[in-house]
Symmetry: C2
Subunit: 216 residues, 2 copies
């Protein structure tokens, strides 16, 4: 329950400059890529009528650009200021005082002006990045988008120039005077994994998934 706040930036600007707990920052761009590339869902924030909206969605990365997509009918997919956050929860930190309860985690926060991708080659590349991020190997296996499907899809590009990464690892940060033999403290790790693939009802009996499909 220790009050945490901001992180460390890769490219400090006034709005991403660190507030507190600098030691939790990971300043290199490799850490940003790692958090993004090992996540599956991002939370995209945008502003509508002066209020924030945060929605979960998939994403993909090509170099220093993140791509997100959606239907042309989705009201939230518009150019303008966005914040894209990806979080991995790695553990629950049990301390001797509730004040020092915490979580071990890795998070990336990206601030950008989202750009609607109009170039058809970049649109396809962005969609391929999104699909390959979610389900590697699938773009070359499943049917690629038709002209009609492409027309129904909006692709937004989010520049990774302004980003921060924050990582907490390790044991609880208890005050020395709280440490006694009587109170247990430590970390309970959290992890996620894939289960056994469930074939669609129309898949022939006995036809297992191709090798590219995620399995544990």
């Amino acid at each position: 329950m220790r009050p945490d706040s901001t992180g460390v930036t890769l490219s400090p600007t006034p709005r991403t400059t660190v507030g507190r707990l600098r030691e939790r920052g990971a300043t290199d761009r490799a850490a940003l890529y790692d958090v993004l590339d090992t996540g599956l869902v991002c939370h995209v924030g945008f502003v509508r009528e002066d209020a924030p909206i945060v929605l979960p969605t998939g994403y993909g990365r090509i170099d220093d650009t993140l791509y997100i997509h959606g239907s042309t009918g989705a009201r939230w997919l518009r150019e303008g200021p966005v914040c894209v956050t990806v979080t991995h929860l790695d553990g629950i930190v049990y301390a001797r005082s509730v004040f020092h309860f915490s979580m071990n985690y890795r998070s990336a926060v990206v601030l950008a002006d989202a750009r609607t991708v109009t170039d058809e080659a970049e649109r396809r590349a962005g969609l391929e990045a999104i699909v390959e991020h979610l389900a590697p190997g699938s773009w070359g296996y499943a049917r690629v988008p038709s002209r009609k499907e492409m027309a129904a899809t909006v692709v937004l590009a989010v520049d990774l120039a302004e980003a921060s990464v924050k990582i907490r690892t390790g044991p609880p940060g208890d005050d020395a005077e709280d440490i006694t033999d009587e109170v247990w403290a430590g970390v309970v790790p959290l992890s996620s994994g894939f289960g056994v693939p469930r074939p669609d009802v129309h898949v022939p009996a006995g036809a297992g998934p191709p090798p590219h499909v995620h399995t544990r």
Copy 2:
């Protein structure tokens, strides 16, 4: 990769009224509580200088109020419009066409004006809810907050009146003409779980965690 957008609201207002894919909504409040109560991290969105910021944090619920907290030094913890989103990712949906790739998930999106809690009893109750949400049984086990720790902590209350829940389950929604025996499609489930607790270095050898500590 099927373009998804909004959900179904519990209390429709112009900004939470459904856009598309109504069938994915779960309209009852029990679904909202379930999504919130089984999550561990929320993503809080707020607006600073006309731009959105989205940060991960813990939370707790008492009836129709969600509590979040942080340091008095955290610049993001202020009254005003917020969006609190909790997402569970349940599976990767492999389709026959990349257009219909998707995720199975459950998400709750709460829109509110965050209120700074000033009543000391509600502040303690909110913090207890946060700790008990993260690590049930801990508030009665670990040392409760001192006056100084309470003074260093901001507690915000978020009303659950305006909220939406969206749930996707089941197989891919392929077009009939794409279904062939040659292409595998289905769902790869995703789940998360707790690992073996790692005691802090000062815990006596052989002292296992108390029964309330999360274990698989």
